[in-house]
C-alpha cells in the first residue's frame, strides 16, 4: 500500500490483474526477436526447473512430450473432427 504503483509494462504476468490483461499484452514485444527471446526464456525456465536437476527422472521429458501431443491434437482437431461418427474410415 505504501509503495508507488508500478507501471503496467514492467510488471510480471502473475502481478497483473485480470482486467488489465489486454493492456499488459499490448506492451509486450511481438517482434521476431522479442518472440524468440520469450521462447528462449520460457525454455530456460522449464529446462532449469525440471530437467537440469541433480536427480531428474523421466518426468521432465514426459511433460514436454505430453504437451507436444496435446498441441498436435489441437493442430489436427479441425481435421480429426470429421472422423467422429463416420461409417467408413
Amino acid at each position: 500500500m505504501a509503495d508507488a504503483p508500478v507501471p503496467i509494462a514492467q510488471r510480471r504476468l502473475m502481478d497483473v490483474k485480470l482486467g488489465e490483461l489486454p493492456n499488459w499484452a499490448a506492451t509486450r514485444d511481438f517482434t521476431p526477436n522479442g518472440i524468440l527471446s520469450a521462447v528462449r526464456r520460457g525454455h530456460d525456465r522449464f529446462y532449469n526447473k525440471y530437467i537440469n536437476v541433480k536427480r531428474g527422472g523421466i518426468g521432465g521429458v514426459a511433460m514436454l512430450l505430453t504437451g507436444y501431443v496435446v498441441l498436435s491434437y489441437i493442430w489436427e482437431y479441425d481435421h480429426i473432427k470429421h472422423d467422429r461418427w463416420r461409417k467408413y474410415h
Binding site: 537440469n52 541433480k54 521432465g60 512430450l65 507436444y68 501431443v69 498436435s72 493442430w75 489436427e76 479441425d78
Partner: protein
C-alpha cells in the same frame, strides 16, 4: 473414405503455422546443449554417452579424411532418430514421411561424397565402377550397371526412409481401425488384433531407430569409398 488413411501424412495448418514447423523444431527442445559444468544432469549425460559411442562406432572404418564428417553424420542421426520416434506418439506428425525432406537429406550428402571422390582421387573413384575380377567380355555391361547403381543411391536412400516410415504408420492406423471396429462385434478377434497392434508398435519403434541408423550408415559407407 479410403483417402482418409493417408490424411495423417498431410501437414495441417493452424493459425497459419503448419504442424511440420513444430515437429521439426522439437528435436531442438529435446536435445539440450551441454553446459560447462563438470557433472551435467542425467539427460545430458545420457545424450553425451550416446553421441560418443555412436561417433566412435561410425568413424571406425573411415580413414582420416572422412573424420570431418563426424559432426554432420552424428547430428543427422540424432535428428532422424528423434523425428522418427516422436512420430510414434499419438496425433503427432512425422516429417520424415515426406519424400521431399528425405530427398533433401539424401541427394546433397550423396552428391558431396561423389564430388569429394572425383576431386581427390578420380582414378580410384572411377575404379569403383568396375569390381575386381570381372571377366573381360562383361566389362562394358558392368560399367553401365554400376553407373546406374551409383545414381540410384540417393533415390534409394530417400525412398527407403520414406517408405518404411509411411508403411509403418499406415499399418498402425489400419490395424487400430480394425481392432476398434471389431470390438463391439467380436471381442475375441478384437483382442487378437490388439495383440498384433502391440507387437506392431514395438516393431515400429525398432524400425524408427534402425532406419535412421541405416541412412547414416550408408552415407558413411559412400564416404568411405570416396575419401
Amino acid at each position: 473414405m479410403i483417402l482418409s488413411f493417408f490424411d495423417q501424412f498431410m501437414s495441417p495448418t493452424h493459425l497459419g503455422i503448419p504442424l511440420i514447423a513444430l515437429a521439426l523444431s522439437l528435436p531442438w527442445v529435446l536435445i539440450p546443449t551441454p553446459t560447462n559444468r563438470w557433472l551435467n544432469n542425467r539427460l545430458l549425460t545420457l545424450q553425451g554417452w550416446f553421441i560418443n559411442r555412436f561417433t566412435q562406432q561410425l568413424m571406425l572404418p573411415i580413414n582420416l579424411g572422412g573424420h570431418k564428417w563426424a559432426v554432420l553424420l552424428t547430428a543427422l542421426m540424432l535428428l532422424l532418430i528423434t523425428l522418427n520416434l516422436l512420430g510414434l506418439l499419438p496425433y503427432t506428425f512425422t516429417p520424415t514421411t515426406q519424400l521431399s525432406l528425405n530427398m533433401g537429406f539424401a541427394v546433397p550428402l550423396w552428391l558431396a561424397t561423389v564430388i569429394i571422390g572425383m576431386r581427390n582421387q578420380p582414378t580410384a573413384a572411377l575404379g569403383h565402377l568396375l569390381p575386381e575380377g570381372t571377366p573381360v567380355p562383361l566389362i562394358p555391361v558392368l560399367i553401365v550397371i554400376e553407373t546406374i547403381s551409383l545414381f540410384i543411391r540417393p533415390l534409394a536412400l530417400g525412398v527407403r526412409l520414406t517408405a518404411n516410415l509411411t508403411a509403418g504408420h499406415l499399418l498402425i492406423q489400419l490395424i487400430a481401425t480394425a481392432a476398434f471396429v471389431l470390438l463391439p462385434m467380436m471381442p475375441t478377434v478384437a483382442i487378437l488384433t490388439s495383440t498384433v497392434l502391440f507387437l506392431l508398435t514395438l516393431l515400429e519403434v525398432a524400425v524408427a531407430m534402425i532406419q535412421a541408423y541405416v541412412f547414416v550408415l550408408l552415407l558413411s559407407l559412400y564416404l568411405q569409398e570416396n575419401v
